[in-house]
Amino acid sequence: MRRLLPGPVLCAALLTAGPALADHCPWDTLVALPGQLNDGGTAVAYKTNPARIEVGKPFSIEVVACIDDEKHMAPSRIRVDAGMPMHGHGMNYQPSERKIGPGHSSFDGMVFHMPGHWQIMFDVYEGDKRQRLNQKISVKR
């Protein structure tokens, strides 16, 4: 009979096996979303809800990220934030994440409180390594 690993050893093995067991990102979903960014093999796709961002009105943003656009691997974490670089300020609200699946999340509570040039920052993590992809968006009154 094959011997099982002791419980603590098995747990430790599973916990440290994160990167090796990395999930695939939902590539089919990624290519279907309207917003597309790609930098150095990291691909991000997004869709805002509602589609047209209105100044002062809350919106959510669905994001799919792949850290390897060949192997379609999911990142360990996605973070989304936004700011107005020319004004030197960010959003007054902190988006909250709803995980949909590996490499696939929705962020609620986004609000662009002023008209003008905004920049959405998509931070894609592979462990501690972060890659930032930016999307410029102009919002009118």
Binding site: V55, G56, P58, M86, H87, G88, H89, G90, M91, N92, Y93, Q94, P95, S96, D108, G109, V111, H113, M114, P115, G116, R141
Partner: protein
């Protein structure tokens, strides 16, 4: 033949000359400016009842709220009411630099028009609903100085207030917990305040005329106000914060005013407001929100506290600006001319300037300042 909006605006302006007999060339607006101007309406904005307040929009609660608003029984010394500082003939403000209840407070008393359009309440946005904000002056030791218990006793022992309460909330005040009585009083006060809506201004007539390309609609709008409006949406960039039908983004900015109500004591502004909001039992995430799904609590759930919030105050609506002097959160600007001077000459090396690059001195001429004030007076 179809005319462009610019051509229409020029023609309309020409018509205005004929109708007003003005001798000089009138101010015209291009398509972009016209779109910006039209975005400040229509007025009034249609609003729904507040889902967080089950008596919002209910006639009986509105009438009871008015009674409470004017009742000295809501103050610990029975010498003052909400209406003492929010006087109907002073745009529901008090016309003085800083409000005076049982003692003087740190901030200017805000006017109460069009409150249903607000997202945040109070100069620092410490409340996320009008009813929660209505609790604040009742409990503030500098304003009405009550406690939930004294308020409950006062209602229970004052026949008219007790009867009104029972009619709306289905039981006498004595049958409810003190905190519940206080929240119900606040919700009635909010129901009344929601009905204080300002009427159409001369700007609104002009804006509607421009939107409808109607010469008669724009004819009566003063030329100085037109020049001021052009500055407002152009060189002044005022409408980056004062946009929409209510002329505000409803958010918070540091505009370079002092943070100290008196030497050695700081007014934290929005930073303190968010801290108070988060620890309040009366915020929209708490047990007194009548919107059980908490759909109304999204802004409260996501609001972010950062060091830049220090010294920020809520961007006020500019409607009725001519009636709401003095100005700013601390009432430090006596006139609209003083306000325009502030933005025209705001120092670039002021504290915290690095956190908000938006405000730069406008360097307006005296004529431009006068035009901007003329425009503000039409709101």
């Amino acid at each position: 033949m179809k005319l462009s909006r610019t051509a229409c605006a020029a023609l309309l302006a020409g018509a205005a000359i004929v109708l007003t007999g003005a001798a000089t060339a009138p101010t015209t607006f291009d398509d972009d400016e016209t779109a910006l101007i039209v975005s400040h309406g229509p007025w009034p904005v249609k609003t729904d009842a507040d889902p967080s307040n089950r008596v919002s929009g209910k006639p009986a609660a509105i009438a009871y709220g008015k009674t409470l608003f004017e009742s000295n029984d809501l103050s610990v010394d029975r010498q003052r009411s909400c209406a003492t500082c929010h006087q109907a003939d002073l745009a529901f403000a008090d016309g003085i630099m800083r409000g005076i209840g049982l003692t003087r407070v740190d901030r200017n008393t805000p006017a109460l028009f069009n409150m249903r359009l607000n997202r945040w309440f109070g100069r620092d946005g410490k409340s996320d609903s009008l009813w929660a904000q209505s609790i604040a002056p009742i409990l503030d030791a500098r304003e009405l100085g009550m406690t939930p218990t004294t308020l409950k006793t006062r209602l229970a022992t004052t026949q008219t207030l007790s009867d009104g309460y029972r009619q709306i909330f289905g039981a006498a005040p004595a049958a409810h917990e003190a905190e519940t009585v206080m929240v119900n009083v606040a919700k009635s006060l909010a129901a009344f305040q929601e009905t204080i809506v300002s009427g159409k201004s001369s700007f609104d007539m002009f804006r509607d005329g421009l939107a409808a390309e109607d010469p008669a609609g724009i004819a009566g709008y003063p030329e100085a106000a037109r020049r001021g409006l052009k500055l407002f949406v152009g060189k002044g960039r005022c409408d980056l914060c004062h946009f929409g039908a209510n002329f505000t983004n409803g958010e918070f900015h540091d505009i370079g005013l002092p943070h100290f109500p008196e030497p050695g004591r700081v007014d934290k502004g929005r930073y303190g407001g968010i801290q108070q909001l988060r620890k309040s039992r009366f915020n929209l995430l708490g047990p007194f929100n009548d919107d059980k799904l908490r759909a109304t609590a999204g802004f409260t759930r996501h609001v972010r506290l950062t060091p830049k919030n220090w010294g920020e105050f809520r961007v006020p609506s500019l409607r009725n600006a001519a009636r709401t002097a003095p100005y700013m959160h601390d009432g430090s600007k006596a006139t609209l001319e003083d306000v325009v001077d502030h933005y025209s000459e705001i120092p670039e090396d002021r504290p915290h300037q690095d956190g908000e690059k938006l405000l730069r001195p406008l360097n307006l001429t005296d004529a431009e300042k006068a035009d901007l004030v003329a425009f503000l007076k039409t709101l």
